[in-house]
Amino acid sequence: MCPCESLVKEVDPRTDSTQSEPVLLGQIDASLRGPVALFFWKALGWLLVGTVLALISAIKLANPEFLAGHEFLTYGRVFAAAMDSLIYGWGCQAAFAVALWLMARLCRTQVKHLGVLYVAWAFWNLAVFWGVVDIFLAGPTSMPGLDLPPQAAPLMGFSYVMIAMWAVLCFHYRAPGPVYVSQWFLLAALLLFPWIGFTAEWAIFFAPARGVVQSLVNVWYVNSLLWLWFAPVALAVIYYLLPKILGRPIFGYYLSVMVFWTLIAFGGWAGPHYLVYGPVPAWVQSVGIVGNVMLVVPVLVASLNLLITAARNPQDVWQSPVLRFAVFGALALAFAGFIGAWASSRDIGLVVNLTQFTLGHALNLFYAFFSMAMFAAMYYIIPRVLGREWPSAILIKTHFWSSALGSAALVFALYFFGWRQGMAMDNPEVDFISIVKAGGFLNEVRITAVALIAIGQLVLMVNFGWMAAGAVCECGCSCLARLGLFPAGGKAR
């Protein structure tokens, strides 16, 4: 066989379709156990790290003397490290785990050569760890969302290719049959992310464009990260989980085609709304505004699909922890989409740009929508992959309530106080220092909300750790039993 053919045969993820579905899916779940569990575990770790750093930066805003003596803990570095831990440590890794598992499941393919995934996992975490440490020691790059040192980017790109190629291969070799909307979302996200990452790193760090073109690329990158990478993955998850658990089809499913195409068509244009009244030509600003307003279409239709499906089965949604997270995420998406369209116009942008409002909108999308959808995915996927149940229902409930209340409080506070801050800044009679002082209450709300969120995540980590320890013990015991080292007759569970 020529080398190409043998390579293709090596990576071919097709499975034996004569097997019954439960057995087949069980095999797929078992095969992905290691990588998915590792990605989720590390993602959770980074989530906790990022949230604690966000808490520290929130405390520093209320009390500038907090941890103030050290250069490596100055506010700018802590904030940048928090953002990038959350984006690359938590967000990307959770997305990888979900994309791998969901794509393998829906395509009924089995990823082979998991060693590649383990290596990619190690390299990705190494790159993010080194990057975050570098932010503390040498400072951020001061391009928001791209604060990791550019030297980390090639390693991350390499890891990404190693991970994404499996998911794309799964799609390419999928089992014959109809394709579900989640698969389109995942495919689009996996193909778009490396392009936006590469363009951003190239145009800002490796072959820097002149002047504000870098800033344009920066805002395009951050916006595309939210709408073309995180949003499609989260939508893929919610579109899958709702009908799966409720046992009913998505309401108005034929409209999901519209969601898919309009989301990825308009999402890439919406970046410049961050630069309204900024130093870019008027047409760039107008394009950003139009892109944002047109995003109302996919958000509205996705809300119709998902929220009406949920609203028709409220009891089932309420009783399933997975669906609570998923529906909360869908509600947050609707809110973010409409608020974003409204706030992007020039009149409103004059008030809210350059205030806490924009941070609230980004968190609305990243935390209240994407992260909650990822939590739903974790609660669904991990039991299937590890073959165990979550040990504690109380911890799940605690996690849900603290995350939901914390993120809602944080987002609403940032919106409300950002609006007030903007109105005061636009009034030249108001002294700047009094605007700063007026932010005192926002700081308190922010600290409380982030602390609440952190508690929830800690609870999730405990729950996961407990469950994983059980799985590891069981695995270890059964290994020892097979080797004859475990006393015969002992329970292997």
């Binding site: 700018g76 400072g139 890439g268």
Partner: protein
């Protein structure tokens, strides 16, 4: 989805469209700007930064100042200095061409345009104003007149702006024993300052602090360009 090639082509198209239409078009249109002069014979602006100011720029980047301060003053003034004769149904009317209050706040004398950033190897536009806009801080009367103001503000922001949430940058200064005479650059802290140097000692800015202050004082938009004049 029946036709997979439609899917792949579609994804490619939505990838290429904003890449070309936004980024490539922007790079072509204003990614190669040169400094400009308002009239023939006038000096061209902006000017490239000099040595110590560039070092200070690195310090600014390393400290993450961009997460609280912007450098993008928005155009025109709330005092509505620009007017325009506009065609309306009732006939020609003189209407204000209004915009932001950044100029009324004396943060700058005019809005920023793309050409202001062509010599910045990494434009530090910022995205949040927890602190004021700094694009024109070098021309601000306080910073221009009193060279100590910026040093004192960096050492302890509460001296000059009580109630500020800016973190202190004391690590950019060193405590040293006073030699035969006090160093001219030593900070003159007010008596009420809780972190005064003990007797016999003085607080002196390090090279990084000096570079940072030199950079801040070099931030100056006090020139006109062909596409924008003072209001």
């Amino acid at each position: 989805m029946k036709n997979l090639s439609v899917l792949y082509c579609g994804i490619l198209a939505v990838l290429i469209a904003p890449w070309c239409g936004l980024i490539l078009a922007s790079n072509v249109q204003y990614g190669g700007l040169q400094p400009g002069a308002t009239e023939d014979g006038d000096p061209v602006y902006p000017k490239p930064a000099s040595g110590i100011a560039e070092q200070g720029r690195q310090v600014y980047i390393e400290m993450g100042c961009v997460y609280c301060h912007t450098q993008q003053p928005r155009p025109a003034s709330a005092e509505v200095m620009l007017v325009q004769t506009v065609k309306t149904k009732e006939g020609p009317k003189i209407e204000p061409v209004f915009l932001s209050p950044d100029i009324a706040r004396a943060w700058a004398k005019r809005g920023a345009v793309a050409r202001d950033y062509i010599y910045q190897s990494r434009p530090l536009l910022g995205f949040m104003r927890i602190g004021p806009d700094l694009a024109d801080v070098g021309a601000h009367p306080i910073a221009a007149a009193d060279s100590d103001w910026l040093y004192l503000h960096l050492y302890d922001p509460q001296i000059k702006s009580p109630g500020s949430v800016m973190p202190p940058f004391r690590f950019l200064f060193t405590l040293q024993k006073i030699g035969d005479q006090p160093t001219p650059a030593a900070l003159k802290l007010p008596d009420s300052e809780p972190l005064r140097a003990p007797a016999g000692y003085e607080i002196v800015p390090t090279g990084r602090a000096k570079a940072l202050v030199a950079y801040l004082r070099s931030l100056n938009m006090d020139y006109e360009l062909p596409e924008v004049a003072y209001p």
